[in-house]
């Protein structure tokens, strides 16, 4: 039992002084868990006095092990750098409404939300390769979960990837420049297995040929990329095989390996993989109509195209967690202010 104000959704809401007091008292923390019916822990830092270094360290250790997302309400004006204490939480914001958007994702998919924040807590200290493996393991685990199962039930049967004669990727080489154009405009360049294969093949050339100095990636049609191909979602053989497949042919890893030579220009919808992959590139510019969204948590999953690795490296883990938990869309102004994109064009 946790002596705290429990909200109607089972979450636990505490002022920081009470939270710190409970930690110090050695309280049983199992109640702060999605498995115990608590989808998130909400801590109000607005009245918090800066803790001692010792308290801060013990709070940080405790937060890293809590089995649900931890959301911090911080004082107004604390802006982008809300201090060492707020930085220990999975999400921190000064506006209740904004923080509540991430709480909504926790309520909807508590297991996916937990896996997401755990990846983001651990990912910062890991090598890029280890973080990508961790993401894939967590993603596959969720593919067998009830939340993804429930999402799939509401949808038509997935189809095995269709073999089409036309390549989903245009590749144009001129001298030291390689142009890669996502070319499934009728599907808003949805990231299918065929597109994965084509990009993997093209990036292999980049890796092998040092005379390629610039790789320019863009998308044909109304959107850069609307995310994973929902027609194929759920067509994986089984979760363990899906992890082995991602470990074998991984576009995120190949993007990261030659990121310094890659320039991505995005426009329109940049959803899921449509922002996760571009975020690896050294230079990312967006047309003024571009928007960015991570929809996976609502499907009972986490970003699986490298987003738990590429986005934190650009915008930090808390903003990544907020985007993924809330599923909300951000525009180019926010993306620019956060450093998700480097440049905006019209």
């Amino acid at each position: 039992m946790i002596p705290s104000r429990a909200a109607a959704d089972g979450s636990c809401s505490l002022a920081f002084a009470d939270f710190a007091g409970q930690l110090a008292s050695g309280i049983d923390r199992e109640g702060w868990s999605s498995a115990s019916g608590c989808p998130y822990l909400w801590v109000d830092l607005r009245e918090a006095t800066p803790p001692s270094a010792e308290t801060l360290a013990s709070v940080a250790r405790a937060l890293a092990a809590i089995a649900c997302p931890t959301l911090a309400l911080v004082p107004q004006g604390s802006g982008a750098s809300p201090g060492a204490l707020a930085a220990c939480f999975d999400v921190a914001h000064s506006e209740v409404k904004v923080l509540e958007a991430s709480a909504a994702g926790c309520r909807r998919s508590p297991q996916a939300a937990l896996a997401l924040v755990q990846r983001l807590r651990g990912g910062e200290a890991e090598s890029l390769e280890a973080a990508l493996i961790g993401e894939s393991l967590a993603y596959s685990m969720l593919q067998s979960g009830a939340e993804f199962g429930a999402w799939r039930e509401g949808r038509p049967q997935p189809s095995a990837p269709a073999a089409s004669g036309r390549s989903p990727l245009r590749i144009e080489r001129s001298g030291a420049r390689l142009d890669l154009v996502l070319d499934r405009p009728e599907k808003r360049n949805a990231f299918s297995a065929a597109l994965r294969d084509a990009l993997s093949e093209a990036l292999e050339v980049v890796a092998q040929d040092p005379s390629i100095e610039v790789v320019a990636l863009r998308g044909e049609g109304p959107a850069f990329c609307a995310g994973g191909d929902l027609d194929e979602f759920g067509s994986f053989p089984d979760p363990a095989s899906a992890h082995a497949i991602r470990s074998t042919r991984n576009v995120a890893r190949k993007m990261a390996a030659c990121a310094e030579r890659i320039e991505v220009r995005v426009h329109g919808a940049c959803v899921g993989a449509g922002i996760e992959l571009p975020a690896f590139a050294a230079r990312l510019s967006a047309r003024a109509d571009a928007f960015f969204e991570l929809p996976e948590v609502a499907m009972g999953l986490i970003p699986g195209a490298g987003g738990t690795v590429s986005l934190p490296r650009r915008i930090g883990r808390q903003r990544t967690a907020w985007l993924a938990l809330s599923g909300e869309r951000i525009d180019v102004d926010t993306a620019m202010a956060w450093g998700l994109v480097d440049e905006v064009w019209s």
């Binding site: 095995a160 590749i171 093209a202 292999e204 040929d209 390629i212 067509s235 899906a242 497949i245 042919r249």
Partner: protein, 103 residues
Amino acid sequence: MPVFKPGTRLKSAVCNSEVMVVLAPSGDVALTCGGAEMGAIGSEAASGAAIDAGHAEGTLIGKRYVSEAGDLEVLCTKPGEGSLAVDGAALQVKGAKPLPSSD
């Protein structure tokens, strides 16, 4: 005839094709593109030479090409109009292993 080793980069004398050697047999190899022997990158292309009509299937960037014996494999890094052959026998495209969707 040159000896190839993995990493050797070659260009066609008669079209824009360029390849990188992935796997090579131990001895001399006569790799042609468009019917003409390929040379090291940086060497002068034979001027005015034309593509042999029997070797004009073209190369595709990103594709791997292998000899029938499987002892020579190259990766196309720049596409062109000529096609690849070793000792007169056309190299074949080696398809990547088909992998299902992981989603």
